[in-house]
């Protein structure tokens, strides 16, 4: 190969289609005469349902069917608990339609199917439900107390799960510590807010007995399995397609949202295609959310800043249901020591039911909360010991010679002990300090202050366990007509550029251009072994599976080409979509090799005719296909990671705070990160910058405003403040590339990297900017103008 595709800044294959408006998102799929769904949702956080009258809704012209829990037969069930864990007592999961009671505002009570969405909504408005409202408690600490209103009558104290994990000997560490720092911090509830809301469409083919479902999901194979099981169909008769999906960020994998089951059910019953296109308000009310945690963290330190122990106890809001088990809280608790050695750890959490929509992983998955707790505590420690913030961190970072660094006793989401596998943490911190101009910042800050400006420097480090198992597969095949290489995997994409990065991996093995590698994923008819897109795992797990498959196909191609060109395998090189005899102008095109590798072939085109000019692709006696031989150039391989691989980074910012307007302006934002070998640096930067923008939202603007009665006061993009371009500062992304030893490509995940540290960075910077006013602490994000105003008032300004 002359040019290596892996590592190159290659433009994306998918872009022209999306730019021309030719994307195919679920609501763009042309269906013949579809019917449309709207849901009636609960206006109460907790209530008993005493009656439901659907007479008027059914009588509305254009309404086709109305379903309550009594009309959905076997679907009137609780949804699966996806990840069981012994720390949960009596875990509660959601139902497609409420039965007898409701647990949050927005819970689905009835489904209306009508000739158009407008009429379906009319129908939902005509359903008469009688509620007996019940008291609610939105405050987690109060909800845990005896006598507090219960989200589930069968779960005392609203305690969903309780887990303690211990690494080392934390009590001893605290006993011999020369200094202990204690703070309590909070991160508020947010939501992924993908630009495309969730969407499901279904078509039932009664003749073939086949159900086709288009679902904007991150997990089409799992959805297929669930539908086949619930509807009693053979798996082969259910096809789930995740077409173009407009962002996911974790929200689009639940198993199951009500619509994912009820829409296919209606399509089967009514004999017409049916679709449900979630609107923005429903996305706020009914699709999973994440973030609220309250951490009480303590660091046991020596006077020189070495942290010898950590205790953290936190409350985790799991919403009304816990379908994902303790995933978010577990990731938070196992990320709590970040990139620091801290050998002695005690971490406890209580997951609490609140009368709100279920909490499942949203980009970051507990890591932003853990990072916020730890990094705010590190700043506090530095201040209390009179040390520099960079120095305190540097003293504690895991050194390059210390990998793999294990945390015995802390079990990550893969069930294995936390093992930081590789990195250059110290170098990353140095790069961040240089990029921020940290050495000269004190002078710049003093100068700005003399001009009436308040500048602050914010800093935070993070780690991210990525590439969660159990496995993914890759299928690679050279097409005999075009010579293009087709690749399949079981994941789906929501904008991460899989079609390009996977193509780059294959292009290098097969000697073709990345644009001649066609990646098809997210369709159970294309490939149906695998897991899903989440946990920053696609490049790691599918990427390595595809890499293995490409190597196998490369070997087959070289053997066949050597036979055809009558040379040894060593003499063959693959480049320019052909196999060449090294140092000569003799070659055979990939298409011809693929054609010749199929014992039955018709001379459809020139490549097929050309194949006949060469010696046979396979040399053996006997039948055309030798025993154990398969036709064509094709392979399927699987990759199963031995453990998660840990990416990391350092973020920093220079912020300016206007103490009169209480306005925060991020002047400069820098990110040093390391996700191992980069397949495509441009795409990596895109992931990181997008994550940082979401992090800025979470740091300054985005907070779901649940009222004391459980109503969400800002369920619209008008009131829930997703940043526009006007809120995002210039961002510099600096790369380190430390390959992981854990997989052949040396890659780590990067999907969530950007968002983790931002809250800690911004709070750190604002605190630094306002330190001249006195002891002002910011331990709560999003950091609103009101908080700044209150803080300034508290010190008498």
């Amino acid at each position: 190969m002359s040019t290596r595709s892996f590592g190159a800044r290659i433009e994306r294959n998918i872009d022209p289609k999306l730019l021309r408006g030719e994307g195919a998102f679920v609501d763009d799929i042309p269906l013949a005469n579809p019917l449309h769904v709207a849901f009636l949702r609960s206006p109460h956080a907790r209530a008993r349902i005493t009656s439901i009258d659907v007479t008027a809704a059914k009588a509305r012209p254009g309404v086709v069917a109305v379903y309550t829990c009594d009309d959905i037969g076997p679907l009137d069930m609780t949804m699966p608990l996806l990840i069981p864990h012994p720390s949960m007592k009596n875990p509660q999961t959601q139902r497609p339609l409420a039965r007898g009671e409701v647990h949050y505002v927005g819970q689905t009570i009835a489904m209306v199917v009508a000739v158009d969405r407008y009429t379906a909504e009319d129908g939902a408005g005509l359903i008469d439900v009688e509620f007996e409202p019940l008291p609610v408690e939105m405050d987690m600490a109060k909800a845990l107390k005896d006598g507090a209103p219960l989200v589930h009558a069968t779960v005392p104290n609203n305690l969903a799960a309780h887990l303690v994990q211990v690494s080392g000997a934390p009590d001893d560490a605290f006993a011999r510590a020369e200094h202990v720092t204690r703070i309590t911090v909070q991160v508020d509830r947010s939501t992924a807010a993908p630009m495309e809301c969730r969407a499901v469409a279904a078509r039932w083919d009664a003749v073939a007995g086949e159900l086709t479902v288009w679902d904007g999901t991150q997990a089409p194979i799992s959805v297929r399995g669930g539908l086949a099981s619930i509807f009693g169909l053979d798996e082969d008769k259910v096809r789930v397609i995740a077409p173009d999906v407009g962002g996911g960020f974790g929200q689009k994998v639940l198993l199951f949202y009500p619509d994912e089951l009820l829409v296919p059910m209606a399509a089967i019953q009514l004999g017409r295609p049916v679709k449900y296109i979630e609107d923005r308000r429903e996305n706020f009310l009914g699709s999973s959310q994440e973030r609220t945690q309250i951490h009480s963290i303590e660091l046991a330190a020596m006077k020189n800043g070495e942290v010898i122990g950590l205790r953290d106890s936190f409350l985790h809001d799991t919403g009304a249901f816990i379908p994902y088990g303790i995933a978010v809280a577990q990731v938070a608790s196992t990320s709590i020591a970040g990139p620091y050695r801290i050998p002695n750890i005690w971490v406890e959490f209580k997951a609490v039911y609140t009368p709100t929509v279920q909490v499942t992983p949203y980009r970051g998955c507990g890591r932003p909360q853990a990072c916020f707790a730890l990094e705010r505590a590190m700043d506090q420690l530095a201040e209390e010991l009179g040390l520099d913030r960079f120095d305190v961190r540097r003293r504690n970072l895991v050194g390059e010679h210390q990998f793999p660094y294990e945390r015995e006793g802390l079990l990550f989401a893969d069930g294995l002990k936390v093992t930081l596998d590789s990195g250059q943490y110290d170098k990353a911190l140095t790069m961040a300090a240089e990029a921020l101009g940290a050495k000269d910042f004190a002078a710049a800050q003093a100068k700005a202050r003399s001009e009436g400006k308040y500048l602050g420097l914010g800093l935070a480090c993070y780690v991210e366990g990525t590439g969660l198992g159990p496995y993914e597969g890759g299928h690679v095949r050279v097409h005999p007509i075009t010579g293009k290489v087709y690749v399949n995997t079981g994941l789906s994409t929501q904008g991460q550029g899989h079609d390009t990065v996977f193509a780059q991996i294959v292009a290098d093995q097969m000697g073709v251009k990345p644009e001649d590698v066609i990646v098809v994923e997210g369709d159970t008819k294309a490939f149906d072994w695998g897991v899903a897109t989440f946990a920053s795992r696609a490049a790691v797990v599918s990427g390595n599976a595809i890499h293995k498959a490409a190597i196998t196909v490369r070997k087959k191609t070289i053997v066949a080409a050597a036979n055809m060109l009558e040379v040894t395998e060593d003499e063959i090189e693959l480049r320019d979509s052909a196999a060449w005899v090294k140092g000569s102008n003799r070659f055979v095109p990939l298409a011809a090799i693929a054609t010749a590798s199929n014992p039955l072939r018709y001379a459809f085109n020139e490549a097929a005719q050309a194949a006949t000019q060469f010696a046979p692709a396979s040399r053996h006696d006997g039948p055309p296909l030798a025993d154990g031989e398969a036709p064509g150039l094709e392979a399927t391989e699987y990759y199963s990671p031995s453990a998660s691989t840990w990416a990391y980074g350092v973020h920093g910012a220079i912020v300016e705070v206007d103490p009169d307007l209480c306005k925060v302006t991020i002047k400069k934002y820098i990110c040093v990160h390391d996700c191992g070998n980069m397949i495509n640096p441009t795409i990596v930067e895109g992931q990181v910058m997008g994550g940082i923008a979401q992090g800025i939202g979470g740091a300054l603007y985005e907070r779901l405003d649940y009222q004391p009665d459980g109503n969400l006061a800002n369920a619209s993009l008008m009131d829930f403040l997703v940043p526009y371009a006007t809120e995002i500062p210039p961002v510099s992304v600096l790369h380190l590339e430390t390959p992981t030893p854990l997989n052949p490509l040396g890659v780590k995940g990067v999907g969530e990297a950007g968002c983790i540290a931002v809250g800690a960075v911004v709070a750190s910077g604002v605190e630094d900017a306002l330190k001249s006013f006195g002891k002002i602490k910011f331990h709560h994000v999003p950091l609103t103008p009101t908080m700044i105003s209150d803080a300034l008032e508290s010190v008498g300004r």
Partner: protein, 175 residues
């Protein structure tokens, strides 16, 4: 699965219907639709031009941006009947007939200014409209941010979109 009697399903609701006649991407079209049908639904589902996306239906995200009589506008806040007689331009008209990308689209591709691509048609329609206006463009960072301030993107973090606007200006000789 047991065959069931097909339910009787009406063609449409009893909404009052009205004939809407307008020009879309240079072509005259006429459809009889419900008086409350949104222009976004009209374009997408009556005409099959699904490149115009709907992200919020309350005029905040900008995904549904089209040109209405030469001005960028929200098709989710416009009723189809309000657009009667209007000249509408959608994303489907921006690239050449042979698929060659418009400079704004080309710049988005070069700068990795899109990820999931859901907000992209609205972004492109907004930017193309600003480029269509005569007079100088403010291509400072703040000027471009202001240009983009009617469109939300959740994937990219905007920085590459800002770069793409600047690149588009170069490609179109407007820099």
């Amino acid at each position: 699965m047991k065959r069931m009697i097909k339910p009787s399903i009406p063609e449409h609701s009893d909404d009052p219907r009205v004939t809407v006649t307008l020009t879309v991407n240079g072509e005259a079209v006429s459809r009889t639709v419900s008086v409350r049908m949104l222009l976004s639904d009209f374009l997408r589902h009556e005409l099959g031009l699904t490149g115009t996306h709907v992200g919020c239906e309350h005029g905040v995200c900008g995904c549904c941006t089209v040109h209405i009589d030469g001005k960028a506008g929200r098709s989710c806040l416009t009723l189809a009947v309000q657009a009667n007689g209007a000249d509408i331009r959608t994303i489907e008209s921006v690239a050449d007939a042979d698929g060659a990308l418009h400079p704004v689209q080309q710049a988005f591709k070069e700068c990795h200014a899109l990820q999931c691509g859901f907000c992209t048609p609205g972004m492109v329609m907004n930017i193309v409209n600003r480029f269509d206006e005569p007079g100088p463009l403010d291509l400072t960072d703040d000027g471009i941010r202001d240009m983009l301030s009617g469109n939300l993107c959740r994937c990219t973090g905007y920085i590459n979109i800002i770069a793409a606007v600047r690149r588009a200006a170069e490609l179109m000789g407007r820099a």
